[in-house]
Symmetry: none
DNA sequence: GGATTAGGTAACAGGCTGTAACAGAAAGGC
DNA sequence: GCCTTTCTGTTACAGCCTGTTACCTAATCC
């Protein structure tokens, strides 16, 4: 993939400058925009791989804009907002946003989400769609998105719980990319109901352990779902996706 | 789907403001209107996905307006009224309203009904109409709406109770869309007599279980009528609709 | 090596779901 | 009207799922 081109939309000039600079420092092409007209101009002018769209745009509403853009195009959109209230979050997803980040955000989290959305978008417009139609191959294993079936290299069907399946989907969408526990929790909630992820607890650790017992030959020495000490976890296998 | 555009019609300014604000907070585009002329203006001006129509409009009658609109267009209509007397309710349905809500209503119930009606409307003008004329194919099964007959992939006719049939219709109208128990109950009541859905009880769970024993090859491991833990149920099959 | 910190996981508890059993309601049949 | 059958909601119980806690081991730092 060529360098991803991001369109950053915010009506606060300082915020806009800060975000574009940060994204450029991290290897992206970041273009600033301040209004829906700006966005449309950029979309007409050239390739845009992802839009980072502020929810509060003066008297305009980012959610509405997102809805209108999505009705016309398949460009991935991440909504950014100072309001982290759940209903807002849900409104964003209903409109077809690919992800949702609350301000103030952790810069690393922003990068991780941008990368995750770009990776997903490389192949198909929406994760939900992909789940319905795709088959994932990884390390001899097969995951049928349509049937939620997991087949071992030997051809045995393995039963995963809903939460384990969701984790596997997150990993399949982000192979070779280290994910923090927070990122995983956030991604799981995207797939699910959008609750604020819990601050404490070892839920992700335990979930990872449970998935390992089911898909790792030797869970004590995991080959695919590796620990990145001090960081989180990595899905260290190549993933191939086919239709059907 | 883009953000649903709702037209809220009420001659009480305070009520109108309250409802539009609440709907906007929940991610909808809510447009206010106070008269039949207002409604026609909006309908001519742009897309309207659903009309929330107060029955008492000064000297006008929402039921009459509903009848006239429906004679001309297929826009879904939910009637809202302070009078919950049964004859009023029936008058509403005879006129072609898609649902009927009594004031004062539970806000969450309003949302559930709005969503249910929108979901149904996504595919077809009216469920009643579709039932009369359509044949549904899903996972090898066939449901003849006209005759209320269900045929298994092997061609055997399967007898469903009234309630089971109603549930199947709701599922056929919403494939791949997770439905909460409340949404299912509301949709069933629309199909039925419009009773307030019971707050407690596991009626939907049991109903789902009963339908599973009849249309799932292995009810213990359902492939079509899937559980969405913490949410509700999803009809996870593609549905094809043909005339005849 | 010893101390400290991070990660793995067994055990537990609470919540959610499936379902058998029961009872009241509705619909026929006589 | 009375009985039978069918339908459907409620209840209770069992089992699964999942987050928390606590303890242990492994890695890291000094």
């Amino acid at each position: 993939m060529a360098i991803p081109r991001l369109l950053v939309v915010d009506d606060d000039a300082e915020m806009l400058s800060m975000m574009t600079q940060f994204l450029r420092q991290n290897g992206f092409i970041a273009l600033p925009a301040a209004s829906e007209d700006d966005i449309r101009g950029h979309l007409d002018a050239g390739r845009i791989d992802l839009i980072l769209l502020d929810v509060m745009l003066g008297d305009e509403n980012g959610v509405d804009i997102c809805g209108r853009l999505r009705a016309e195009q398949d460009v991935p959109i991440i909504l950014v907002s100072a309001l982290s209230a759940d209903h807002q979050r849900m409104a964003g997803y209903e409109v077809g946003a690919d992800d949702y980040i609350a301000k103030p955000f952790n810069p690393q989290l922003l990068l991780a989400r941008v990368r995750a959305v770009l990776l997903r978008a490389q192949r198909t417009p929406s994760l939900a769609y992909r789940r319905r139609v795709s088959v994932f191959h990884f390390g001899g294993w097969v995951y049928h998105g349509k049937r939620d079936e997991v087949l071992s290299p030997e051809g045995f069907q393995v039963a995963l719980s809903q939460r384990e399946t969701a984790l596997l989907q997150v990993l399949l969408a982000n192979p070779h990319i280290p994910l923090t526990r927070e990122e995983i929790a956030a991604a799981l909630d995207v797939t699910g109901d959008g609750n604020q992820p819990e601050a404490t607890g070892r839920a992700i650790d335990v979930l990872v352990g449970r998935l390992r017992t089911k898909i790792e030959k030797n869970p004590k020495d995991p080959q695919m779902l590796r620990t990145e000490r001090g960081t989180g976890y990595v899905f260290a296998v190549d993933v191939a996706v086919t239709d059907s």
